[in-house]
C-alpha cells in the first residue's frame, strides 16, 4: 500500500530518506524546494486529504531545522510524514497555505516560536501567543529560558531546588 | 384614598418578602434536584445587601439609570393593579374596571425599559440579550393575550375584580374547569414569561453572555433583584385571579401562587434549555393552537 506510493513518489522526487515506523506510518525526507510539491501530489493524487500537523525540531548542533508535515488518508487509515531539513541561519520555507487554510496558522506559530519565515503566508507576522515579543524566538534551543525568566520576571525569594533522586534518597534512606 | 395607598404599600412589602423567600426556596429546590444542599433560603437578602454595599459604580447615561427603574416600575405596576385578595380592603390593591388592558402593557413595559438601558450600556452581549429577550417575549405574548381575551370574552368584562367575582362559588366555577383550553394556553405562556428553563436562555447565568444585565451592578442590580422577586409573584397572582378563582384570604393566595410558581419550577428542573428560535417556534405552535381552541370554545359553545 504505502510501498506503491513511495515508488510512485520516487519517480518524481529525490527522497533523501524513507523511515518506516509501522505498517501505516512512514516518514519521507524531501528537500526544501520539492517538499510542498510532494505534499500537493499526496493530497490530490493519493488521497491524503487530512492535514494533521506541522511542527519543527531545532537541530542546533547540525545548524538545521527539521519541519514535519503529517498527512492522513482517512480512507486507507494511513499516515505519511514529510520531513524537510532547512538551514537554521536563513530559515525559510515554501508556504503550503494554499493546500489547507489551517496551515497558515501553523506557519504563524512557527514564525513566532522558531523564527522560520514562510513568504506569502497570510497574517504571518500577527502575534500568535506572545504579544510584543522581542529578541530570540523562545523555542530556539539557543534561547536560555531560565536566565530570561530570572531576569525578566519578578521572582519570589526563598525558592530552592533539589535534585529529586538525591533528595528522596536522603529523605527515605538516610542511613545508606 | 390615603388609606388605600397605605394598604397597597403594605401588601407590596409583604409580597416582595414573599417573593425573595420564594426565590430562595426555588433555588433550594433546584439544588435538591441536583442532589446539592444549595444556597441558604435567605441568601437573596444577603445578595441584595451586598449589591447595595458596593462602594463605586459606573454609569453609562440616563437610560442606563432608567432601565432598571422602568423594569421595577413594570413589576410594581403589574402588582399594584392586581387584586391580591378578593374583596379585601387591605389586599384589594388599586384594581379598577379595565385593568386587564393596563396589565398587558405593564408586562412589556419593563422589558422595553431594559432594552433601552441595556442598549445604552454599549455592551454587545447586552444588546444581543435584549434582542433575544424581546423576540421571545413577543412570542410568549401571543398565547398569553389569547388566553386573556378568552377570559375577558367568557366573563364579558375587562375588570379583574369582575373576573374573580364570576369564578366564586366552588371549585367548578374556576376558569380551569369551565374553559380548560385557555387555561392550558395561559399556563404554557407563563412558562415563557417566568424566565426559567427551558425558556431562560436570555439571562441564564450559565450562558456566557447573560444578556441585558451584563453591565448592571450595585444599585441597579439591587433594583433588578427586587424586581425579580416581585414580578413573578405579581404574575402568579394575576394568573391565580384569571384561572384559579382568586383568593379569599392571604393564606389562600400564598398556597395558590406557590402552586402556580411550582408549575414553572417543575418544568424548569425537568427540561433542558431551548434556544430562542426553538422557543419562539414552540410558542407559536401548541400554545397558540390551544389559545385559538379556547376562544372558539368560548364563542360557540358557552353562550
Amino acid at each position: 500500500m504505502l510501498e506503491n506510493i513511495i515508488s510512485e513518489l520516487e519517480k518524481q522526487f529525490q527522497l533523501e530518506a524513507v523511515d518506516h515506523n509501522s505498517s501505516d506510518l512512514v516518514f519521507l525526507t524531501i528537500d526544501r524546494d520539492h517538499a510542498v510539491m510532494a505534499i500537493d501530489l499526496l493530497k490530490w493524487k493519493f488521497g491524503y486529504k487530512h492535514f494533521v500537523l506541522l511542527t519543527a525540531v531545532d537541530f542546533l548542533e547540525e545548524g538545521k531545522f527539521q519541519l514535519t508535515y503529517i498527512l492522513n488518508n482517512p480512507d486507507t487509515k494511513t499516515d505519511i510524514g514529510v520531513r524537510v531539513r532547512i538551514d537554521r541561519e536563513d530559515a525559510n520555507m515554501v508556504s503550503a497555505h494554499h493546500l489547507w487554510p489551517t496551515v497558515a496558522t501553523y506557519q504563524r506559530e512557527l514564525k513566532e516560536m522558531f523564527g522560520i519565515d514562510f513568504p506569502g503566508s497570510p497574517r504571518l507576522n500577527d502575534p500568535f501567543i506572545l504579544e510584543g515579543w522581542e529578541g530570540t524566538p523562545p523555542y530556539r534551543r539557543d534561547f536560555d529560558t531560565k536566565a530570561f525568566a530570572a531576569s525578566f520576571y519578578h521572582q519570589r525569594e526563598g525558592r530552592t531546588t533539589n535534585d529529586p533522586a538525591t533528595y528522596m534518597k536522603e529523605k527515605l534512606y538516610p542511613n545508606e | 384614598m390615603g388609606e388605600k395607598i397605605l394598604f397597597a404599600l403594605i401588601s407590596l412589602f409583604l409580597t416582595i418578602n414573599y417573593g425573595f423567600l420564594m426565590n430562595g426556596v426555588i433555588r433550594k429546590i433546584y439544588a435538591r434536584v441536583g442532589r446539592r444542599h444549595g444556597i441558604p433560603f435567605y441568601q437573596m437578602y444577603i445578595d441584595l445587601i451586598k449589591t447595595l454595599a458596593l462602594r463605586t459604580n459606573i454609569r453609562h447615561g440616563t437610560m442606563f439609570y432608567l432601565g432598571p427603574v422602568f423594569r421595577f416600575a413594570g413589576g410594581v405596576g403589574l402588582f399594584l393593579f392586581t387584586p391580591v385578595v378578593f374583596g379585601s380592603a387591605m389586599f384589594g390593591n388599586l384594581s379598577f374596571s379595565g385593568d386587564v388592558l393596563l396589565l398587558l402593557s405593564f408586562q412589556f413595559f419593563g422589558t422595553l425599559g431594559m432594552a433601552l438601558g441595556a442598549g445604552e450600556s454599549g455592551h454587545p452581549n447586552a444588546a444581543i440579550g435584549v434582542t433575544r429577550g424581546l423576540a421571545q417575549m413577543t412570542a410568549v405574548e401571543v398565547p398569553f393575550v389569547l388566553a386573556l381575551m378568552g377570559v375577558a370574552i367568557q366573563y364579558d368584562s375587562l375588570s379583574l375584580h369582575d373576573i374573580v367575582a364570576a369564578q366564586q362559588g366552588g371549585i367548578m366555577h374556576w376558569t380551569l374547569f369551565t374553559n380548560p383550553f385557555i387555561v392550558a394556553a395561559g399556563m404554557l405562556a407563563l412558562l415563557g414569561s417566568f424566565m426559567r428553563p427551558p425558556f431562560d436562555v436570555v439571562l441564564a447565568g450559565q450562558e456566557i453572555p447573560i444578556g441585558p444585565p451584563t453591565e448592571y451592578h450595585s444599585n441597579y442590580m439591587a433594583l433588578m433583584l427586587s424586581n425579580r422577586a416581585i414580578f413573578p409573584m405579581a404574575k402568579a397572582i394575576l394568573f391565580m385571579n384569571l384561572f384559579f378563582g382568586g383568593a379569599n384570604t392571604y393564606w389562600e393566595m400564598m398556597i395558590k401562587t406557590f402552586a402556580v410558581v411550582m408549575w414553572s419550577v417543575f418544568v424548569g428542573v425537568s427540561f433542558p434549555r431551548f434556544r430562542v428560535e426553538q422557543s419562539i417556534r414552540w410558542f407559536l405552535r401548541v400554545p397558540l393552537i390551544l389559545g385559538i381552541l379556547g376562544i372558539v370554545y368560548v364563542q360557540f359553545f358557552m353562550s
Partner: protein, 213 residues
Amino acid sequence: MSLEDLNKKQIVSPDGEHFEVDPMNDYFCQDRPEEVKPVNKIVERFYNWARSESLWILGFGTGCGAIEMRPLMTPRFDAYRFGVQWRPTPRQANLLIVSGYLSTKTLKRVIRVYEQMQNPKFVMGLGSCTINGGMYFDSYNTIKRLDYYLPVDVYVAGCMPRPEALLAGFEELKKLIKAGKAEGANEYANKFDWYKKNQKEVIRDWDMPDYNW
C-alpha cells in the same frame, strides 16, 4: 485590538456623516482609581458580613486551576452552601480567582477584568504558580508572583489544590473580609503607580488605557 486602534480616527456613519472618534476618551474612561473610605464603622461591619457571605466569583479561568473550580458546583463539594456563586460578568463579581499559571498574554486580560470590577473586590491566587511560579518557574511566558501585579488577599497553595483547599480558602477570605482586612481595591488605588510600573515591565505591548473602568 492593537495600538493603532486607540488613535484618533475619522469615522463615516451609515448616514454619510463624518465625525472624529478618540477611543481613549470616547470608549474608555482613564481616570485613576481612588481610595474609598468606609463611612461608618458599624454599618461597614454589617456590610462586610454581607460581602463575606455573598462571594460572587467571576467565571474566568486563567490556567489549569479552572478545572478545580468546576467540582465546587457539583453535589460533592457544593460551594453554594457557603454563599459562593458564579457570575459571568466582572461588573457583578467581587471575587477574582486567578486559577493557576498566568501567561503575560492572559495577565493583560486579567488586569482589564480586575479593573472593571467594582470597589470591594478580592483576589484569590490559586496554586503554586501564582505564588512563586510553581513548575513554570523557568518559563519565558508566565509571571512568577501575582502580588506584584494585583493585590492578592488569599493564596491557596498546591499543585493543584484540591477543591477542599479552595473551600478552606473561601473560609479564610471570609474571616479576612469580616475583620475588614480585605481592602485590596483601596490598596490598588493607593499603590497604583507601583502596580502599573510592574505590569508594564512585563507586558511589552501595552495596547490599552492605563485604567479600564
